[in-house]
Subunit: 111 residues, 2 copies
DNA sequence: GTTAAATGCATAAGATTCTTATGTAATATT
DNA sequence: AATATTACATAAGAATCTTATGCATTTAAC
C-alpha cells in the first residue's frame, strides 16, 4: 500500500531537509531510493516532484550543490546550508506539532 | 502559532468526515468553529476551502445535505452517507499509517 | 437606534505543489 | 545486442489550497 498523494504534498521539503541533515551530502536519485528503502516503498518520490523542489530549495538558499562527474555522467550532490539546518529544525517541529494536533482532532491511534 | 498551509492540504476531507462521524449533522460554519475550538485556533478552515469541498463530497456521495431555515437565513446541515462512513474509516487509517511512516522517516517525537 | 461584528452561504482568480509524460544520455545487466 | 537502471531535466495538467470579494441576516456594542 502506498498513500494517496495529497498527504505527501507539503512534506517533500521536510523529507529532503531531514535526509541531508542525516547524510551530509546526497544526490537526487539517491534520495528517491533512500526514501523507498526507509518506508518500504510506501513513499515514492517522483522525479517530476523532486528536481524542481531541489532547484527551488537551492534558490531559497537552503541547500548548496556541487557537481561531480562519475565517468561521463554528472551527479549533483546537495548539502544543507546553515539556513537549511535551522529550516530543518523548524519544519520538523512544525510537522510534529501538526501531527499532535491531528492526533487529538481525529482520535488517531499511533504506534 | 498556526501551521503553514501545505500541511493541512490533503486532510480537509478527512477532518470533515470525522466531524460528521462524531456529530450526526453539522453545517459548514459550525465546522470551522468546531475545528478552531478543538485545535486552539491552530487549524483554521477557510470558507474558500470548505464550501467547495463540501460540494464535491456531496457530488461524490459521501455526505447528504438538508437545508433548514433559521429565521430568514438558510443553514445547510450535512450528514454522513453509508459510503461516507466507510470512507471515513479508510481515510483515518490511511492517515494514521502515513503518520507512522513519517514518524520513522523523520525521527519525529510525538506526545 | 444606528453602526459594527458575527453568522452563513457562495464563487472566482491566482498560488503552490503535486502527477504524468516526455526527453536525453550513460552505464550496467541479461 | 537489447533492456534495465542510473541520473539529470522540463512541461502540461490536476488537485487543493489562499485570498478576495460578494450578499444577506442577525446579534452586539456604542
Amino acid at each position: 500500500m502506498n498513500y494517496s498523494s495529497e498527504l505527501i504534498k507539503g512534506t517533500l521539503k521536510t523529507i529532503i531537509l531531514k535526509l541531508l541533515s542525516d547524510n551530509n551530502k546526497m544526490y537526487g536519485y539517491e534520495m528517491t531510493q533512500k526514501v523507498r528503502e526507509l518506508t518500504a516503498d510506501k513513499i515514492q518520490i517522483t522525479e517530476g516532484a523532486l528536481y524542481p523542489t531541489l532547484h527551488s530549495m537551492e534558490n531559497e538558499g537552503l541547500i548548496t550543490v556541487e557537481s561531480e562527474f562519475i565517468g561521463k555522467r554528472v551527479r549533483k550532490y546537495y548539502s544543507l546550508s546553515v539556513a537549511g539546518k535551522s529550516k530543518k529544525a523548524e519544519k520538523i517541529s512544525e510537522l510534529a506539532d501538526f501531527i499532535n494536533t491531528m492526533k487529538v482532532l481525529l482520535d488517531l491511534r499511533l504506534q
